[in-house]
């Protein structure tokens, strides 16, 4: 306010006009940015004729690599389209959809999240189970805690990492521990859970804790043992009678901006070619 008084008024006018100029410039720049990206969208739409557009997929983080490869195939099959995949814990993705995140397809690592989405009226049509996965234990290659089996996870002073509560990979793990209680003794689950040192955002984050060597073990999916990390970690299988099969449902979303492309994506994922790619990344076919 001092600026606006008496003699200083002329100078303050200059100062103010400069500030206003800067503000105006900022607004113009922001405006340009907006229209620029809008133009970009229009451009890609135009170049792809009728088929242009951006397909937004929300997918469980375990699908990271398989969906990246399928995305490239999809973009080749549908010239001009862009596939945007947002990866995270299925529970987190569900929360995003519930909060109105704009997306076309939801691929969950468990039926529970998909069922909630259906119940909340967020899904168009009926979800399809497109793939299955199996839980494994992942340990660092040098295996500092000397873990050789599921049973070893109950030994004291192991640094076990799990995905957060409600993340399918962690829920499945707890389910497995519950089953194992009947075999390894009533305190088994309790003992294993007392070894948990951190709950990570999603399954890939918990696997990365083992990759960087800070955790002694984590529960992940067979598909999380990707070529990238094979030099740093190894897999310990869970006895089949105690393991569970993770089933992955996929569905197009009610508020999809690109319902046509969304349908095409589901078709690709469930096609022979889609299943081949998923199998390559250590998923198991849905029909088994």
């Amino acid at each position: 306010m001092r600026l606006l008084r008496g003699k200083a008024s002329l100078e303050s006018c200059k100062v103010w006009s400069r500030i206003l100029l800067l503000l105006a410039l900022a607004i113009v720049l922001v405006g340009c940015g907006g229209s620029g990206s809008g133009g970009g969208n229009g451009g890609s739409g135009g170049s792809g004729e009728k088929q242009g557009g951006t397909l937004t997929i929300l997918a469980a983080s375990s699908l990271t690599d398989a969906f990246a490869e399928l995305g490239k195939i999809f973009e080749q099959q549908n010239p001009g389209t862009t596939v945007k995949t947002s990866l995270g814990a299925s529970s987190e993705l569900l929360a995003q959809i519930q909060q109105g995140a704009p997306a076309d397809v939801f691929a969950s690592a468990a039926e529970e999240e998909m069922n909630t989405a259906v119940k909340d009226g967020l899904v168009a049509g009926k979800p399809e189970i497109f793939v299955k996965n199996r839980e494994v234990i992942i340990v660092p290659k040098d295996n500092p805690a000397n873990i050789k089996s599921l049973e070893d996870l109950s030994k004291p002073n192991i640094k076990l990492v799990l995905a957060a509560k409600d993340v399918p990979a962690a829920d499945y793990a707890v389910e497995i521990l519950g089953k194992a209680n009947k075999v390894y003794g009533p305190n088994f689950k309790q003992d294993v859970l007392s070894n948990v040192v951190s709950r990570e955002a999603d399954v890939r984050a918990s696997v990365n804790r083992v990759v960087v060597g800070d955790a002694d073990a984590t529960f992940g999916y067979a598909s999380d043992y990707t070529p990238d990390i094979r030099e740093k970690v190894k897999v310990i299988t869970i006895p089949p009678n105690l393991n569970i099969i993770a089933t992955y449902p996929i569905a197009t979303l009610k508020d999809a901006k690109e319902p046509g492309l969304a349908k095409k994506w589901v078709d690709l994922v469930t096609s022979k070619e889609g299943q081949r790619v998923l199998k390559k990344w250590k998923f198991e076919p849905a029909a088994q």
Binding site: G6, S9, A95, A164, R199, A201, D214
Partner: protein, 279 residues
């Protein structure tokens, strides 16, 4: 204020332009204030509508609040004990490399906290540069409360150091020298003269650093991990609860809002009293 302004500039083009300018400036302030107030209000509205108050007393919330209080308190003790003399050296020392040192200690301000977390992990994690040797002695830091404090010190230290150093630089050296001439030793001068004179700056720095430590998320979740009662501070609890129980996430946010408000008001009150006491 408008009245007095108009009184001094009753007519003329520049008066009109001034009026416009100050109107626009007031409008800008209004927009910003609204932009900040509306989300904060939304937190409270949600809490009232959804009756999410109960979630504030849930074990997750209590453990997170307790952990945040303990870790930020430890961070502040470390910053005050180590940071105060360090800031003094930074402010007064004109040694080789002091410029580079200044830049180094300010780096965490501009470094995204998640990058800081990765850096800490690669340094102090089990296979880290330093962590490997610590591990040989049986010391592991990752997934411990100590790691939370380390992350908080890393990101908050520059805020305290910078303001404390500015405060020390503004202290009149002749007063210190006069005390030295009177026979006081250097430590006594530092504690009895320099620190009291720089006190408002030290408090301001401490409050900013504390707020930064309280809000610490990225470095903590990456370096320290996320486990209730051990490493799950309030920001991490908010993030974790958002995935399963949004009411709890909102309640925690309101809780930390009130908590932060109370601490800032208390510190302001105490520092005002301290300043009054000195005069």
């Amino acid at each position: 204020m408008r009245g007095s302004k108009r009184g001094k500039n009753p007519t003329g083009l520049s008066g009109g332009r001034e009026w416009l300018a100050s109107g626009l400036a007031t409008g800008a302030l209004g927009i910003l204030a609204g932009f900040i107030a509306v989300p904060i209000l939304s937190l409270v509205v949600w809490t009232v509508n959804e009756e999410a108050w109960g979630a504030m007393a849930s074990p997750v919330a209590r453990e997170a609040l307790s952990l945040s209080m303990r870790t930020t308190a430890a961070t502040m003790v470390i910053l005050v004990v180590v940071g105060t003399p360090a800031a003094y050296v930074l402010a007064r020392g004109t040694f080789r490399g002091s410029g580079a040192l200044n830049t180094l200690v300010e780096l965490p301000i501009v470094l995204p906290p998640s990058a800081a977390g990765i850096a800490l992990l690669l340094a102090f994690g089990r296979l880290g540069l330093v962590g490997e040797y610590l591990n040989a002695f049986g010391i592991t830091l990752s997934f411990t409360t100590v790691a939370v404090v380390m992350a908080e010190v890393f990101v908050a230290a520059p805020f305290y150091l910078r303001q404390a150093a500015t405060g020390f630089a503004e202290v009149d050296r002749t007063i210190e020298e006069a005390a030295l001439v009177d026979g006081a030793d250097r430590t006594a001068v530092f504690l009895r003269v320099t620190v009291p004179l720089a006190f408002p700056a030290l408090v301001a720095g401490a409050v900013t650093a504390w707020a930064r430590a309280l809000g610490e998320f990225g470095a903590t979740i990456i370096f320290a991990g996320n486990l209730r009662g051990i490493t799950q501070t309030i920001p991490l609890a908010i993030y974790s609860e958002f995935q399963s129980n949004i009411d709890a996430a909102v309640a925690l946010s309101v809780l930390v809002l009130g908590f932060a408000f109370a601490v800032i008001l208390t510190v302001r009150y105490l520092s005002r009293r301290a300043v009054e006491y000195r005069h």
